[in-house]
């Protein structure tokens, strides 16, 4: 039974990363109509920024949680201003190819300088150790990752679905020309949205660093699963991405316990089934 709970916890942690990353992808796809294949590389950059802050500047994990998303978010905004904005109105394929190319370049640069092996990043002192819950032992850092990710996901959902700024974003997703004709600076809003989505990826990278170490290909390993999560949840659906992210992490964890051979493929099998039954995803709406 202990093993089952342990796998459930691993599933929840993976689900946290899936949710944060797919949430960023959903926000970006909803607003920019771009399938952001650079997301994994930007997640990796978040982890590396945390690593540099600690190893070069002695800046700890808590500051890294704030600084890394800002640094990578600004990098993302520069990418959007200099490259992605020119793809407005073009087929999705162009955005996919461009962001895939960006991902290869970014990963290649980091791999060139840091190799493929992982760099250590220590768990902050405040989150070391664990708690005995009676039915299982819970490492505090892992519990923190799950709770913090959930809070960030809900805050992002609230921002987009329940605030005036979010209403502007949703409206601009539907009809950017008209929203701009109302006096709202839509191009600036698009840039900031890309920065927000990318910042979420970087935040996931910082959270991941103490668990998975810091590696140039850490994003590449994860991004394909995250895209499957987004497809299952429904492209552009905020709540769909969050719920599907956590749910698929748990399903993956349970599969590891009951049928480990299928644990790496269960997400893709589910994706195929969902696409067959509901091609717009579980919570997505038809165009």
């Amino acid at each position: 039974m202990q093993a089952l709970y342990a796998q459930l916890l691993v599933g929840l942690i993976n689900g946290s990363f899936y949710a944060l990353l797919s949430l960023g992808l959903a926000v970006i796809f909803g607003m920019l109509n771009i399938i952001n294949f650079a997301h994994g590389a930007l997640y990796m950059m978040g982890a590396f920024v945390a690593y540099f802050l600690l190893s070069l500047g002695g800046i700890n994990y808590w500051w890294a949680l704030l600084i890394a998303p800002i640094v990578v978010g600004v990098f993302g905004m520069i990418l959007e201003r200099t490259m992605l904005q020119w793809l407005t109105g073009l087929d999705h394929l162009y955005g996919l190819l461009l962001t895939f190319g960006i991902a290869l370049i970014v990963q290649g640069v980091f791999q060139n300088y840091f190799g493929s092996s992982g760099l250590p990043y220590a768990i902050p002192d405040q989150l070391k150790g664990g708690m005995n819950l009676g039915f299982m032992f819970l490492p505090i850092y892992r519990g923190w990752v799950v709770v913090f990710s959930l809070v960030v996901c809900i805050a992002t959902w609230f921002l987009i679905e329940k605030t005036r700024l979010g209403a502007n974003l949703r409206a601009a997703t539907e009809n950017p020309t008209l929203v701009r004709a109302f006096g709202i600076n839509v191009p600036r809003m698009i840039t900031l949205t890309y920065g927000l989505g990318v910042g979420l990826a970087a935040l996931a990278g910082v959270l991941s660093a103490p668990i998975n170490q810091v590696r140039p290909l850490m994003g590449a390993d994860l991004i394909i699963v995250v895209f499957a999560v987004v497809v299952i949840g429904g492209m552009g659906s905020i709540m769909g991405s969050i719920l599907t992210g956590f749910a698929l992490g748990v399903i993956e964890g349970l599969t590891k316990y009951f049928y480990p051979e299928a644990s790496n493929t269960v997400v893709f099998v589910l994706m195929v089934l969902v696409l067959l039954v509901k091609p717009t995803g579980l919570t997505g709406r038809a165009a």
Partner: protein, 248 residues
């Protein structure tokens, strides 16, 4: 009537101050040349209607003024400032509001969010209480999804949301299209009341019977040009011509 004479026709109503001057406005959709040199003026406080058949270029004229047509040339002066090269968000912030033909109600927003979407660009917009006084239906349906409203209510919402912004110059594109006569009458009353409140309105209409109840002056658009223009008092004398222009 020569185009320059049309452009400089004096207003019968309003303060006489020219709020909008359009000169040699040309516009393109991709390779298609739609406007071929539009010239007209709108004076402060009046309601001016662009009449014309489908495809004449009326909507394109409004969109060109609003800056949402990619390629346009000529001159559009609003309050003596040339806005031909300005982006649509800047034009909106100068005090021009646009209500599109398709109404542009956002399905992912409820009525309240649709209503509050356009930012207040300057002082002088109508407060919400006054808007609900004009459109009482909207107050009862604030939490409904915008696109779940009836056609008439959606049109009211589309007009209502630009009244809060403080824009003094409203461009309404076919506000009566597809609406029941009783709703058309209500829209007519609203436009008359807005005029009384001091708004300047540029209206695009195919329904000139409706337009005649609210307009001070008319311009007839054909093949991307203004081909005629007259005031409301000259309407009766121009009916035969107008029937020919509009094919009714």
């Amino acid at each position: 009537m020569p185009e320059t004479a049309i452009a400089e026709a004096p207003a019968k109503a309003g303060t006489g101050e020219k709020i909008l001057q359009v000169r040699n406005l040309e516009a393109w959709y991709g390779e298609s040349h739609i406007l071929h040199g539009i010239n007209f003026d709108v004076n402060a406080g009046e309601v001016v209607t662009l009449l014309g058949r489908n495809g004449a270029g009326k909507t394109t004229t409004l969109k060109s003024i609003m800056g949402i047509i990619g390629k346009r040339t000529g001159s559009v002066q609003f309050n003596s400032q040339d806005i031909i090269r300005a982006t649509s968000d800047k034009i909106a912030r100068m005090g021009i509001a646009f209500c599109p033909e398709e109404r542009g109600i956002f399905s992912s927003l409820d009525v309240r969010e649709n209503l509050l979407l356009p930012p207040v660009v300057r002082a002088g917009g109508l407060p919400l209480e006054q808007i609900f006084d004009l459109f009482p239906n909207l107050k009862e349906r604030l939490n409904s999804q915008g696109t779940k409203l009836s056609g008439g209510e959606q049109q009211m919402l589309a007009i209502a949301r630009i009244l809060r912004t403080g824009a003094s110059f409203l461009m309404l594109d076919e506000p009566t299209e597809g609406l029941a006569p009783v709703i058309i009458q209500q829209i007519g009353h609203t436009i008359a009341r807005l005029k009384k409140e001091g708004f300047t309105i540029l209206l695009v209409e195919q329904n000139f019977r409706f337009a005649s109840t609210v307009a001070d002056r008319y311009y007839v658009v054909e093949h991307g040009k203004i081909i005629d223009g007259f005031s409301n008092s000259e309407l009766a004398a121009n009916m035969d011509k107008l029937h020919t222009y509009l094919g009714v």
